[in-house]
Each structure stands twice: as structure tokens, then as C-alpha cells.
Symmetry: C2
């Protein structure tokens, strides 16, 4: 694909990370639209100047303050279009969907993705909502329109998960995946064990560091990990699992005492999301598990994430890396775009 035309729907932290990467790597793409509910919306068929867009974002200004340069596009610049109008009217090759995640409804992202796929655009997203709730439906729609629907960033940010499975385990059957899929809870458990902090103190520190939200429910009750387990089940194991099908228990009931008792037995608590094929069924769960010191997941510290793939030909392979971050998640979208381009 020669100089592909890319549109960004949603442009918060991840979008900014992506734009910084595109600029740094001098990638030969044309950014034709950025539409964000809060930050404004601009598009230009002749391509936007990424440095100007980044300047506005970095200075907290509305995108709609964007101005054409002297070699202007003669009226091709539009402002103020909402996401759907942008998708419908702009002729992009690739849409990057990066609006906020609503794990209950998957909206408005799912609608954006459907619109783009129907129009023959490739789609990449880091948004867990549509991936957890509607992956199979959206993948079918993508196949029908002969385009790609890539979601590397939905699990473990840019740390390879779906690209790893597709490109590096080609020919293998993956029978199980299990891992540490939420950095906040892993940070809390690590600090409780290593520093002897109480759950409350560790949670407070995680909030101060920006790992945990003011309302930490989605993390500590396991719902974030749950969404990822559903995605892994459907994408890697060919399942048709819904969030309600998966038993989910978080870490809020784990006490310092539990952790100390486990340590005395040379075990360590981790919040484990896992899914495996058993005959025609998929058995998935999210729960705190006491792991022996020999498990590759036991040594995963702090906010890191990790995933163990069990395969027929390679046995177990574990990958560990960042589970969040502006540049790391921006990279997940970037690598999906590179994948689409070749």
C-alpha cells in the first residue's frame, strides 16, 4: 500500500503516543483525519501536518485551531465533524479506533468499527470493548469486506500477543493461555509481598502513581483482566465466550496474612486470567492463584504483564513486558498499521 491514508477516531494518550511514533520513525503515511470527542475534529484529504497536530495536543488546545499552511489544500480542510461523519465522509485506508473503553456496551467504538469495515477500511484498535463483546462479528465483517481487523493493543498494550500467535506460532495449536493481564493488581500484590504493605496502602500508592483509577473497581475486582480473557478466548482459541460466561474474582479480599502464609510455602499470589480448550468447550476464569516459584509467571513484578501460551509443538512459551503506557500502546496501533501496509 503506497502512502496509506490513516484516520484517528479518538485521540487521547494512545493517539498522541501513536502520532509521536509516526513522526519519530518518519513513517510514510498520510494522516487525513483526527476526530476526538473532547479535543475537536479536523480532516483534510490532502493530509494533515502531524507536527502541528501534536503541537495543539501538547499545548492542550483544540484541534480545531489547526490552520493550513501557505501551500494549502484549498478548502479540503474540514473541522468539527463527529466521529461517524468523519468515518463516512473521509476516504481513509485505515482507521485507528482509540476512543474510551466502555466494557458494558462496547460503544461508541463498535459502531465506529462497523462503519469503517463496511466502507472497506482496515481497522486497528486498542479498545477492549468491541474486542471483548463483538470480536467474532467484527472479524466476520472484516473478512466479508476483505480488510483486516487487528487488536494487538487490547491485551498487554504493545507487548506482542496476537502478532506473536499469528506470526511466530504459525502451525502450532494453542490449547491454553494464562497470564498476568492487569498491571495495577500485580503492582499491589508485589508491594504487599515485597514491602509488607497492606492492601489499602498498596492501592493508595498505585493510585498516586497513576496505575489505578480513583475508582479502582475495574482493576481490583478483575473486570479489566476478564475483558482480556474473553478476547484471548475468542481470538486465540476460536471461542465464542461472553464476559458473563467467565467466573471472575479480584484481589480485594487478599490479605497480607494470605500472602505471608503463601510465602512460607514458597508460593506467591498472582491474579491469573486463564482460558483453555477442553473438547468443544472453553474453560476461562479470572482469580487469585498461588503459584509455585518455578512458574514463569511468579517472577513477574510490579506493573508488568505476562502471558504463557501452551502449544502442541513448542510446549509453554511465556512473554513478559509492559501492559500499559502511552508509547507502548501507541506502538500496538503502529505495528498493526505496519502489518496492514505490507
Amino acid at each position: 500500500m503506497k502512502k496509506p491514508k490513516v484516520m484517528l477516531i479518538g485521540c487521547g494518550t494512545v493517539g498522541q503516543g501513536l502520532l509521536e511514533i509516526i513522526q519519530k520513525k518518519k513513517t510514510d503515511i498520510s494522516l487525513i483525519a483526527v476526530s476526538d470527542f473532547k479535543k475537536g475534529s479536523i480532516n483534510c484529504a490532502d493530509g494533515l501536518d502531524i507536527s502541528k497536530v501534536l503541537d495543539l495536543l501538547n499545548n492542550g488546545k483544540s484541534l480545531e485551531e489547526y490552520e493550513c499552511g501557505p501551500k494549502c489544500c484549498n478548502g479540503a480542510l474540514h473541522k468539527g465533524w463527529d466521529a461517524l461523519k468523519t468515518i463516512r465522509e473521509c476516504d481513509a485506508d485505515i482507521m485507528a479506533e482509540m476512543t474510551f473503553t466502555d466494557i458494558k456496551t462496547g460503544q461508541p467504538a463498535t459502531q465506529h468499527i462497523e462503519e469503517a469495515l463496511k466502507r472497506g477500511m482496515h481497522v486497528t484498535t486498542s479498545n477492549k470493548g468491541p474486542a471483548a463483546l463483538y470480536y467474532n462479528k467484527l472479524k466476520r465483517l472484516a473478512d466479508e469486506n476483505d480488510v483486516k481487523f487487528l487488536i494487538e493493543g487490547t491485551v498487554m498494550s504493545g507487548t506482542p500477543v496476537f502478532n506473536l500467535a499469528r506470526e511466530c506460532f504459525a502451525g502450532c495449536d494453542i490449547t491454553e493461555v494464562k497470564g498476568i493481564l492487569n498491571g495495577t493488581t500485580n503492582y499491589i500484590l508485589t508491594k504487599m509481598e515485597q514491602e509488607g504493605w497492606s492492601y489499602q496502602d498498596a492501592l493508595k500508592k498505585a493510585q498516586e502513581l497513576g496505575y489505578a483509577e480513583a475508582d479502582p473497581t475495574a482493576d481490583v475486582e478483575g473486570f479489566d483482566a476478564l475483558a482480556k480473557v474473553v478476547i484471548l478466548s475468542n481470538v486465540l482459541l476460536g471461542g465464542n465466550v461472553k464476559p458473563d460466561d467467565v467466573p471472575c474474582e479480584g484481589i480485594s479480599k487478599i490479605t497480607l496474612e494470605d500472602i505471608k502464609t503463601a510465602a512460607e510455602d514458597d508460593m506467591r499470589y498472582k491474579l491469573i486470567g486463564s482460558t483453555r480448550r477442553e473438547g468443544d468447550s472453553i474453560i476461562a476464569s479470572v482469580k487469585p492463584v498461588k503459584l509455585p516459584m518455578t512458574d514463569p509467571l511468579t517472577g513477574v513484578n510490579g506493573a508488568n504483564n505476562a502471558l504463557t501460551f501452551t502449544t502442541d509443538l513448542l510446549g509453554d512459551v511465556t512473554i513478559q513486558g509492559a501492559g500499559a503506557g502511552k508509547i507502548e500502546t501507541g506502538f500496538s496501533i503502529f505495528v498493526d498499521i505496519l502489518n496492514i501496509i505490507r
Copy 2:
């Protein structure tokens, strides 16, 4: 590529593993030649019957006992050709080079690979010799002939290393790689620490289990890891490093006392192969390193291997998996073949 024609040069454990995988996965390839110094040599332009080849190998018989079936190829079956004659006379699309590794000369594998590349065949190999000594030269030759030269199995058997870097870190700069690249020494160090065995006892057990050779020098003095560090330097960091450039120290001088003292400081000895770019130079080494418990490599137990990639966009990513094995290394050749086919 439609039903690609594949030849195997060298068919020991890895070759058998590969054939078992091809058969199990019902892969649509045509095996047109197998030439092994010890096990005999057969080729047939119409394709060999893989089950028959495996039967002979599994029963310790010479490949030259292979017989055509009733729907025979009418004289297309040849026997007894040496490797070079096989490469020169058989019209394969892909050569899998799996002869024994000679890390001093890289021969005869390097000559086989050159012959195949010059004839426009894609090449995959798990042989560390040519990869450590002549990677850049062979890659150039492959490029000149518009074919691929893939070496996934030379480091960490089939656990993704080069495919991971190429496919999943696309767009990233890799600035450093370091890891546990030899399973035998990691097994010995693990047993010394966990069981309190002496170096000699742990080595003896490793030999009994078939991890270590009767002459364990290549493993315990770090030479096997050294070859892999050279390959990583040249393939992933674009270096032009030779084995003699890399300081190499094994584990034979590590005592139980050293390991206990390290453990008291919450540290663990690992044999670490590492290489990093510093300006225009590559700084590489193999040596025992005391790692803190927070390092992802510290938790790598037994005969497993692991590698940490340091990248500009993703930070550190660590992959852990098998470092050897019949099916695992056979898979490395298999995944390279799949890569060539698409």
C-alpha cells in the same frame, strides 16, 4: 508458493522432528530429497512418501532401503547422492540445512547453503555454524538471489527470536539483547541453587538426562552461548561480530559457595549472553552474572532459555521457552518454511 518442493540436507533428530510435524499437520509440501551422511540419501522429483521415510528412520534403517510404490515415478528416484550433488541436481524451492554444527569452520553446512542460495533456493537452518561465522555474507547472497535465508532455530530452538523481532517489533529499534541461551548450564546452576548439589554432581545429572554431552566443554565453558550471542549481534543489531571478538567465560569455576553467598544477598547466578549497541560498536559477552530477583531472567529455571529485548518503543520484553528438543527445533524449521511459503 503452490506445493513447494523441499529438500532436507542432514536428517538427524531435528529432521525427524520436522518430518513428524509436516506429517501431523498435513502440510501441503512436496518432500523431494533427504540426504544424510549417516542415514543415506534419496530423492525423487515426484515427491517422497513421508510416512515411508519416517518408518525407515524410526527403525534405524538406511534411507536407501526406500522403495517406490505401485504408482511409481518411473525412474525419478535416485539413491546415494551426497549433499552437494543433491543440492545441485534436485530442483527444490526450499532447502532445510540440518547437518551437524561445526562452530570452528561452519562446514560443510556453509557450502551447502551457498550452493542452494546461488541456485535460487530459499534456505532455512538450525545450524549455528554458518549463522555464527557467515551470516552477513550468506544474507547478502540470499538478497542477491531474491530468496530468504532464515535461521529461527539457531537460538532458543523454536521459541520465537528472529521471527519475534522481525514481525512483532517491526518499527522498533532493538538496542540490546541479553539472555539465558544454554539450557545445560541453566539446569546445572538451578540444581546447585535449589538442591544444593555440587557443580560436578549437577553436571553428571545433566549428562545422564542427555542435556550435556560426554564432553561438556561447549556448554559449560560458554562456547554454545557465545555462538548464539554472535548470531544475535549480527542479525538483530546489524553487527559484524566474530566469535573471537567476544569475551567468553563459562560456569565451571562457579562454586556452591558462590551460589549460596549470592542467595544471601537475594541474587542468583545465571550464565548471561548479552550484546548491545554503543555508538558504532557492539559490546558483547558471555559470563556468569549475579542477577537481582526482580530481573525477569532470574526466574528462568532448569533447561529453559529466555531472552530480554531492549527496544526504544516497547521497553524490555522477555520471552521464555524451550531451548532445545526434537519437536521444538523441528518446529523452528517448519515455521521458517511457512514463512517462506506465504
